[in-house]
Symmetry: C3
Subunit: 386 residues, 3 copies
């Protein structure tokens, strides 16, 4: 039960005033930026200056994120937040998986692993932190179902164990500190076998997690929801899924252009590739998810925000990462081991621990959001100096 139920808003009254009314309503303005999508594509392919590409794609990603949020919300209203959040996360992460597969083909293992870590940290610290901060800003507290949040946070804790043990293995068995990640060489075969085994356990656990959240305990993920009050008529499930898929592709495309321009700019001003991979790409590449999650939090649907943030991090750790490890045997110059460096492990372990504590009780305030952001700032600062 919420301390601050979402009151009927002014936008509802614009719901019958057609496209122009919708576009200029509180909900519709992002779609005014749609023309910037083709502009960004043209600038990218004509190799225009990075600044222009950045500006166009940064604005162009907004309507795609808005469409994604709208489609998720419609889906959540029809099929429940559980399935809505899951599809949102899946369509959001699909482009990341595809891009990582290309990097894997080029043998860029360290880049791939840094971006996985960056996505996990970005979701549970930056996205969840910003959502809790924005959502709690004018409220005493926001409530969510702790069993749902904890189940996903628990998956993350399992994933953390799965990331730590191979690293201890490498540390004790291997040539010792510093880790062999600096050398772009293949790992010994027992480290690779261990990685494959752990990857399979993670995939099976993720499948069990879906069974839990979408089937046997779906009710935990579908709290009683407020009436929708955005502009426009309600969508069918089919239309929502279609829109979500379209938005996912568009988000992926825009993010890719945006990341390209920002990476170029970042490295030209002297940021290390590690920092760019773990922090800059993670922030920019998840801008759309970020937008959607904060949007729900402000509308007092913090359940959906947490579901998206933690669910996305869990999907990266328990689905995307293992799929990449297994794929690396088929594509790419040599297989990728699930071995992360000390910074990556320390950061993920601490972030997951804090996320676990914060999702334990079932309510949240702005202060917890700020704490998550402060932890993110400490980690980003450390990575900056690496």
């Amino acid at each position: 039960m919420s301390a601050d139920p979402h009151p009927p808003t002014v936008e509802s009254s614009t719901s019958t005033s057609g496209l122009p009314g919708f576009l200029f309503s509180g909900e519709g303005w992002p779609y005014l930026l749609v023309p910037l999508i083709p502009v960004a594509v043209v600038l990218e392919f004509t190799h225009a200056g990075a600044t222009w590409v950045f500006l166009a794609s940064a604005l162009g990603v907004i309507p795609t994120a808005a469409l994604m949020g709208r489609a998720t919300e419609e889906l959540a209203a029809r099929s429940g937040p559980g399935i809505g959040g899951f599809l949102n996360v899946t369509f959001g992460n699909a482009p990341e998986l595809i891009i990582a597969l290309f990097a894997l083909g080029a043998g860029l293992h360290e880049v791939v692993k840094a971006s996985l870590v960056g996505s996990i940290l970005g979701n549970i610290l930056l996205v969840m932190g910003a959502s809790m901060l924005a959502g709690g800003a004018k409220r005493d507290r926001q409530n969510f179902e702790p069993r749902a949040a904890s189940a996903q946070a628990l998956l993350l804790l399992l994933a953390t164990v799965a990331l730590i043990m191979p690293a201890i293995f490498e540390l004790v068995q291997g040539p010792g500190l510093p880790s062999p990640r600096d050398q772009a060489v293949a790992y010994p075969s027992d480290v690779l076998s261990l990685s494959v085994g752990v990857a399979i356990i993670l995939l099976l656990s993720y499948a069990a997690g879906l069974l839990f959240s979408l089937k046997t305990h779906a009710h935990l993920f579908n709290p009683a929801h407020d009436e929708d009050d955005h502009g426009g008529e309600p969508w069918t499930v089919k239309r929502s899924v279609t829109m979500l898929a379209i938005a996912g592709v568009a988000v992926g495309f825009m993010s890719e252009i945006l990341v390209g321009s920002i990476t170029e700019a970042s490295e030209s001003i002297g940021l290390s590739p590690f920092f760019v991979g773990v922090i800059v790409v993670a922030i920019v590449g998840n801008a759309a998810e970020h937008w959607v999650s904060v949007y729900f939090a402000v509308r007092n649907k913090i359940d959906l925000s947490i579901n998206i943030a933690v669910g996305s991090a869990a999907q990266i750790a328990l689905f995307v990462a293992p799929v990449l490890v297994l794929s690396s045997f088929l594509i790419g110059p040599f297989p990728m081991a699930l071995v992360f460096n000390g910074f990556e492990i320390g950061a993920i372990f601490l972030a997951v621990l804090i996320a676990q504590e914060i999702t334990q009780r079932g309510d949240t305030t702005w202060f917890e959001g700020l704490q998550l952001l402060a932890v993110y700032a400490v980690l980003a600062l450390t990575f900056f100096f690496v």
Copy 2:
């Protein structure tokens, strides 16, 4: 309050039909396997093939476990689950302590320490995981008293601190990585003094834990319990304790034969002694406890299951381990230090952390059980490659 109160079962109706009726009822079938106990003993002492010894002792351990479960249940019904669980755990761990004392006399410190770690991990991950999975399989959730479970999980967290600090000490003061455990030599005297001091603190804490769970806060450990519905007439307290002691001796004897046969077989197929000690012996040697704990979970007595699993791990960490350290000054070629290797510490720390999170809220689902098993699988896989 349970979401799925245990309904009266068919077995109750057989309770007056005498021994044959009992033996062939749902509760009595394990006792049909009693003749395999002397068979296993004979095979063991005539040095029969390991496969035959394994088969006979694996079947022979079942009736001893069943008797242990029955005696615990009767005791719990009369004296409360607190004392029932405590005596079950004590009679279950007594043979382990005795076997370890013999190994200590032979100077097998690494084997002793690996088996301590294996028992702790086996109890909180494998036994508790299997219980929660089996107990939650057809239920929405199972409830338990979180204060009771947390008090014991907290003891484990204390034990973890007590295991980590000497290892950091050894790491910083000693010859550095890798730890000196590979060399079967005595530790410097300050490490030994530290071990003795820590052992005494653990023993005092364990005594305080018993005072808490059996005296000042016994009510937390004795939730309102369902009527017993197994076959046969109720037992007196004295008879229950006697049966528990007999079952404990028999379990210890059968487990010892079973472990012997499985160890021989494991090493002949090339498993490392470390893996055999931490994983194989722990699984096989705790088969009876495992059986009892799952049995209670399926009957919706998850309180008793958790009490046995976490209580057994706590007894190993806070009673058996310190007693072995102190005993090592009297028996054996040189004293045993409480210093564990990186794998052991990492595994115990992560396992205890997860157990702590899972016992925090007071309810559990099949998914949490599965998560514990997945963590166990990751650890076992890592140990396999060591």
Copy 3:
């Protein structure tokens, strides 16, 4: 709601019997020791034997602590426990900050860092542990507002991240184990820049924590409180603050003399400077806070005890430590980096984790207090052998 509401006591009846009655009442006896304050000062400045200085100052610190407790209680009764606890902690930590600034000027970085760690550990393990043990001794349990306690414990977890990341940085980037702390040399400039950045994040987070606890969510920190029942008439807010400030100065002065005498004695009996800094100084130097916190716990005001213990640790970690780092650029021979050694980090991480678990649920028993003390004993013992 408390299981054991504080009953009216006999002291109340003495409240009108004037100064002599008050002095010899249950509340007033500490003030009989006031004359020992000037005695301790005289002995200190005449360089009397350490034993006499120790005895006089150990007795002399008691009335200053009692005054501090009384002033805090009056303030809590008028302005709420939130502001009362905050001012208590602030006036208690002020002398520590001043002393540390002098040590910084002398370039004693390791001593300063050890005393910071000692204060944090002392507060969350020793002070909180003793309070929970004493407060829970004759009660089934004591209740507190978990949101208030968790918010502060969360700050500590953030601080822990902030302490761990620079150490990992140092470990990976630097000359490896052992840490360069043994050499009294300046750290490389990137470690210093990282320290400054982290210090600023900590200070901002601490400011946000004050905004949370004193303004936006002050109600969490002000549970319905019992009537005050100590001797004497109620004080005004202004008088309470004045008394608290006077008591703070006196506590600081007495503690300083006490610490001086005990340090001299400790080192003469062969304790290492590290042990003296982390354990002896922390215990003796926080004697007054300790006394106040236990006093509140026994009176069933465990909310105020936890607020003082955790709040004091948080203030050290998030305010005193960063202020010292930033000040070290202005005073002292070279800047101080926020890099702690393996023992310090391991100890703080484990202590904060346990404090977090214990403050999660909102009730506490004597057993949890004892556990905190046992963890403290394990850490102290380890430090003893360093």
